[in-house]
């Protein structure tokens, strides 16, 4: 990049777009590889879509004719090629079982999963960042030790158990939230939130210990840096040192993990959506796998893969926002 670009014009967005373009090829390659792999996996998956459609009353000759109709008698690569061709032109196909358009199914289900994952991230970060900062302020102190026990507890509990506990305590006994089900945003913000809070909390539970411990460790090492000592010597308030001077340089690993975790959370959403009966992509995936609805599985994987790649490029760009060194390194 030429030196004539002024720092002001070099907005975050432009940097992000540049990075995306630079990653473009590898991104495409990655998404392609993921779709090939999923196609191959659904192929070796035991069971047969024709049997899934016809049910146990299927007669052998029916199975054969349906397999032909579904094109399952063609070689794998031919089927993949025609799927890819259609997908590139925006047609993800139809569900074998319900004949719904897969693009429409994704449009219905994706927002629920995105909301769930984002709410979980906000809850997890909203709790772990302040907790980690305060724990790092006095490592080994009372608060730090309490948090240590708390996070150990959280990390040892599986999500489905926490979910059921939350359902029994907050929904069945206290009656504060519905035990399961989903209300759309159009039904009202509070109704929507009341159905999403328990699932998001359950999903956030396993992230909190990771975020907290990571940030706490980074904070402790940052707080030992000389410039912090200088800041202290200058008599700056501890609050100001912690939040203004120490947090930003300590948050690199956290941001990486938050980005990578988006993928993990999508995986976690499969369990949480099933547990809380949310009509998201996770539940759609479970149903599709059980029903051998190959193109639906393929569509979901495509969306998740593309989303994951974009998130990682975004994380990459976030470094540049936080650290001038990264910004300059890219430019030269």
């Amino acid at each position: 990049m030429s030196a004539s670009v002024t720092p002001g014009a070099d907005s975050a967005l432009a940097g992000w777009a540049r990075r995306l373009a630079r990653h473009g090829l590898s991104v495409l390659g990655l998404v392609f590889a993921v779709t090939v792999l999923t196609f191959a996996i659904t192929e070796i998956m035991p069971g047969d879509p024709a049997v899934a459609i016809l049910g146990e009353s299927a007669m052998p000759e029916q199975i054969v004719s349906l397999r032909t109709e579904l094109g399952m008698d063609r070689p794998l690569w031919q089927r993949y090629a025609s799927w890819l061709g259609n997908a590139l032109s925006g047609d993800l196909g139809h569900s074998y079982r319900s004949n719904e358009s897969i693009a429409q199914m994704l449009a219905d289900r994706l927002p629920v999963s995105i909301q769930l994952v984002l709410m979980a991230q906000v809850l997890a970060l909203g709790f772990s960042v302040p907790a980690a900062v305060f724990a790092a302020y006095r490592p080994g102190g009372r608060f730090d030790r309490a948090m240590d026990i708390f996070t150990t507890g959280l990390i040892s509990m599986p999500a489905f158990m926490v979910g059921l506990l939350l359902i029994y305590v907050l929904a069945v006994h206290a009656g504060l939230f519905p035990a399961a089900g989903y209300k759309y945003l159009s039904d009202g913000l509070w109704l929507n939130m009341s159905t999403m809070l328990l699932p998001a909390l359950t999903l956030a539970q396993s992230e909190i210990p990771v975020y907290m411990r990571l940030l706490r460790a980074e904070m402790i090492s940052t707080l030992q840096q000389e410039y912090i000592l200088v800041a202290r010597a200058k008599g700056l308030a501890p609050q100001r040192i912690l939040w203004r001077h120490a947090l930003k340089p300590s948050s690199f690993s956290l941001i990486t993990v938050v980005g990578v975790n988006m993928g993990r959370l999508v995986g976690g959403a499969v369990i949480i959506e099933t547990l809380f009966a949310l009509p998201g992509m996770g539940q759609m995936l479970v149903t599709a796998v059980y029903q051998h609805d190959h193109f639906v599985i393929q569509g979901i994987v495509l969306v998740v893969a593309v989303g994951f790649v974009f998130i990682n490029v975004a994380v990459d760009s976030a470094y540049a926002l936080l650290d001038p060194r990264v910004r300059h390194a890219t430019r030269s």
Binding site: P46, A171, A180, L275
Partner: protein, 505 residues
Amino acid sequence: MNPTAHWKFALAIVAGLLMTTAAQAQAKAPTPTQGGSINVAQEADWATLDPIGMGATTGLQAGKSIYDNLLDINEKGEIIPALAQSFTAARDAKSYRIKLRPGIKFHDGTPLDAEAVAFNVRRAADPANRCRCLPDLVDLAEVRVLGQIVMKQPASHFLAVLAEVPGLMASPAAIQKFGKDYGANPVGTGPFVLKEWKRGNFLHVVRNPNYWRAGLPYLDEVFYRPMPDEQTRIAALKAGNVDVVLLPAAKDVVESRKDRNLKVIDPGNLGSTFVMFMHKAEPMSDPRVRTAITLATDSKAIAKTILHGVYKPARTAFGSGLAAHEKVTSWPEFDLKKAQDLVKEIGKPIKFKFSIQPTPTSLHVAQALQQMWKRAGIEAEIHSLEQVQLIRNAIDSNFEAMLFRWPGRSDHDNNVYQFFHSKSTRNYVKYANPEMDRLLEAGRTLTDPAMRERIYVEINNLVARDLPYSFLWYSTPYIVTSAKVNGVPVVADGLLRTETVWKAK
């Protein structure tokens, strides 16, 4: 978590107990409350609401709200007219006359006439439409518009078929209008009309103001909500988010009975869960092997422990909703000593693969069976298969022994003919006995219920001797409701007939 519910059909209480509660409920006879809504939790969403895509049992749940059947079964298991005003069977059981109730209209205003009936039955019977009900219709020769149905051969079980999927009447106009998308836009004559279907979240149906049964339905609306996790279903019921839970887990039936705010409805059952033996290959081709395995099977212990005592051990192919239920004299009851002696007499090691679906209950049951058989000197290797693969292997007769279930149907014939007749494509175990074929055919020729019952008792005894299957327990499709829900008819198929349901305020 597992939405396949191989096992969830299978729970049970003593039928007598249930009948007393039902009688008590009737004695009080409170006046039904008009209006209100209920939420029904079920294990999975339906792929389609087109009758031809529905399975014989659970797929029908919402179908029963939107559609009516030509015929139906009542609490006593008898075939009764529904959309039909009357029906008559020819003496030779080769044809039926159906007389329709006049003046019934579909939700879209088109009339339910003889043409609509013929259209629906023909549509289900057309192989190109791939109705899951097709095996029930292979003997159908012709449907005449004047209300006559002609069979290729005697088929006295066919009236019961009309009480199931092939007898659901959908609007021909709507089927033509929506084409491939009809499954998302169902139009029937039923007590409720589709309002909105958000797949994976809810199916919302509202009262049909022009319903042909005067004064019904009581409710204004019904929501069906798919909740794949069984613990969540019960939690949602306890929290008051749903009013009815279909197919609860066995332990939840036990728990719910203790809860004063909940009611457990035992509708009885039609089918069973069993081990099936592949007859055409060693070692199961030796009848002594099948007998030894059955003798070594303590089905009472399984029912009592793993199944929490809510399932009844089974010895016949017929659930409590069928006349020949448990009427068998020669079933090889559990007797370890006899089993051991028989194994010694056979004189060579008995080893086989036991195919199951890896759901928690299946695994527990399979492991228990494995231990029981081992004590008799029989070695089973558990072979876990994903559900669709298991079904595929059953269809291909590719197994030695398999844990399988048949939810059961409302006529005896449908629980045995297709599985045990030597010429049936669904004879998974390749069982062939001319005596069995003769009995099965006789069951289709006779129309007198008492005479038919005698045939099926004979079949019970022949099955107990030849052991194509070794029965384990009867599959009861329990319904758990909140105490406010009333008017759930207790029919052995476990389908929730919503038109008579009402909710106390």
